[in-house]
């Protein structure tokens, strides 16, 4: 099995100068510098994109779907993440953006905020039907799911087993579009437009279903310029789209692009919303140690402020957040999803996971318990010996990790420049 290609993030060796920015920013310590270039340890990477954020050389590429890949489909459908509405200036309304996507080359565009509202309503039904255990953890952020699978295996059963809005939307479209459009199912390409590199993994290697209903994900970064050009060229169409709005937007759903958005839609439930990778890790540690038992739903999003802070977004997250909040307040709290629709889909388990999530085992120091204990002791001795400066010069993010690598046979004590000096 080729696990190397599973991840969307790749180091561009031509641009990488072997500095330590990505090394120290990686929350799972999945990066090492070897021979002057950064390398990602595939089994540890959770696709959060922190390295991308911190790389000053722009040397980390995200392999998302490209425009030319779209040509494989006769009929191209776009499902943009609601974050897209925050990427352009205040005068550009969501309807115009959707219209511009058509000019960019999509045959039809389906708006996601209603499905986000549907997802929130389904989560509420699930929580009310499952009074225990607590807290449940929202499954919307794919990086959180990957993090739990690897670092918090005992919390897997706390993940709400409901598919995220993008998959629910694609599933509905996949079931209906061939009939509605009279197009062969294989000719239809359903593409998500996203600020998040991890979506690509959840599409190519889904963990909660057999096969993703999406055919790919284009980054906001890649589509930004063509959309902007289309917006500029089509002033008349913009007027038309404003006068004949084609889509109903959900204020409740739109808010889910922001941290706390999913929990805001849940009335009468005790919720906690956390954003940012470090705070997510902190709160998951607390849950693992038995805290937050009085919370119904814990929403964790690893990007700062939620999906608006995604590494593949263009606009800074504060501007994007402000615009989305403005749209949310304009749209109000009015629900646009019919309760009977939610009920019927929920009862059919249409939105549920079809595969149960499996933990991904971490590699122990040694398979043999006696030797593992000996190695842990040895590791502590090496940690004491190392300078504790966490400089990254050895290629590992900190002294502790170097000690761990040495014990596992992946590095040498002499990789540490301070130890070298002492030897001389």
């Amino acid at each position: 099995m080729n696990t190397e290609n599973r991840h969307p993030l790749h180091i561009n060796a031509k641009k990488c100068v072997g500095c330590v920015h990505c090394l120290t920013s990686c929350p799972t310590k999945a990066i090492r510098i070897k021979d002057g270039k950064a390398r990602i340890i595939s089994e540890l990477c959770i696709d959060c994109g922190e390295c991308m954020r911190f790389c000053p050389q722009d040397a980390i590429d995200s392999h998302t779907t490209s425009f030319s890949d779209l040509n494989a489909f006769k009929y191209k459908v776009a499902i943009p993440a609601t974050v897209l509405y925050g990427q352009f200036d205040n005068a550009t309304l969501p309807n115009e953006i959707l219209f511009a996507l058509r000019r960019v080359g999509f045959d039809s565009i389906y708006e996601l905020s209603t499905i986000c509202e549907l997802n929130t309503a389904a989560t509420e039904k699930f929580l009310k039907g499952h009074p225990r255990p607590r807290p449940f953890i929202a499954s919307t952020c794919p990086v959180v799911v990957r993090l739990i699978q690897r670092r918090y295996p005992t919390l897997i059963d706390l993940i709400v087993p409901i598919e995220p809005p993008r998959e629910i939307a694609a599933k509905i479209l996949r079931a209906n579009l061939p009939r509605v459009l009279k197009v062969k199912p294989s000719d239809i390409g359903i593409i998500h437009i996203t600020p998040c590199p991890a979506k690509m993994v959840s599409i190519n290697y889904p963990v909660s279903m057999e096969k993703s209903y999406l055919d790919g994900a284009i980054s906001i970064r890649d589509i930004y310029k063509p959309v902007l050009q289309a917006l500029r060229q089509s002033k008349d169409e913009a007027i038309m789209s404003r006068l004949f709005p084609e889509t109903i937007f959900s204020g409740i759903g739109l808010g889910t692009a922001l941290s706390g958005g999913e929990t805001r839609g849940l009335k009468n439930l005790r919720t906690v919303a956390v954003s940012g990778i470090q705070d997510t890790i902190r709160v998951l540690n607390q849950v693992e140690m038995g805290m937050l038992r009085d919370v119904d739903l814990l929403e964790c999003m690893v990007c700062p402020d939620g999906c608006v802070g995604g590494p593949l977004a263009v606009e800074n997250r504060f501007m994007a957040k402000s615009r989305i909040l403005r749209l949310v307040s304009h749209l109000g709290e009015r629900s646009v999803v019919d309760d009977s629709d939610t009920n019927s889909l929920f009862q059919k388990n249409f939105m549920s996971f079809t595969h149960s999530l499996k933990p991904v085992k971490s590699t122990p120091l040694d398979a043999d318990p006696v030797r593992a204990i000996q190695k842990a002791k040895q590791r502590n001795r090496i940690i004491k010996e190392l300078p504790g400066k966490d400089c990254g010069a050895c290629g590992a993010p900190d002294c502790r990790t170097l000690a761990d690598d040495i014990i596992r046979g992946l590095a040498l004590l002499t990789d540490c420049p301070f130890m070298m000096k002492e030897k001389k």
Binding site: S362, A372, Q374, A376
Partner: protein, 147 residues
Amino acid sequence: MTETASFQQEFKVKGGDFSRGGEASCEIKNLLRDLGLDPHLVRRAAIACYEAEMNIIMYAWQGRLDLLVTPHRIRIIAEDKGPGIPDIKQAMREGYSTATPEMRELGFGAGMGLANIKKNTDTFRIRSKVGHGTRLELTIKTNGRKA
């Protein structure tokens, strides 16, 4: 019987240091995971450690967690210099708590601490002397529970 191999590490815990509460337990948790122990066992140990650590932080002046891991069991000694527990029987009851309103605001003091430690361990011994301190000795068996 002498153990063939053992790992021992001590973690100092400072009374009143809420901002670093849980750090020792977290480190113990990661260590047990590195040793390849079953995740559910690791979690039980982590919960017990955390409760013990927080008890020291909340009530005592200073203390330590002493971890010993052998191929067959995990032993944790939580020892503190502190006010001690006058009535251990009462303190062991679920729901009994002497937590102050400040502690409760932080989410502690539901009166589950000691009972929760006992629930998550295989053996549980407690000794306390009022005005001197408290000593907990906990073990979790790991025989044949390797992941």
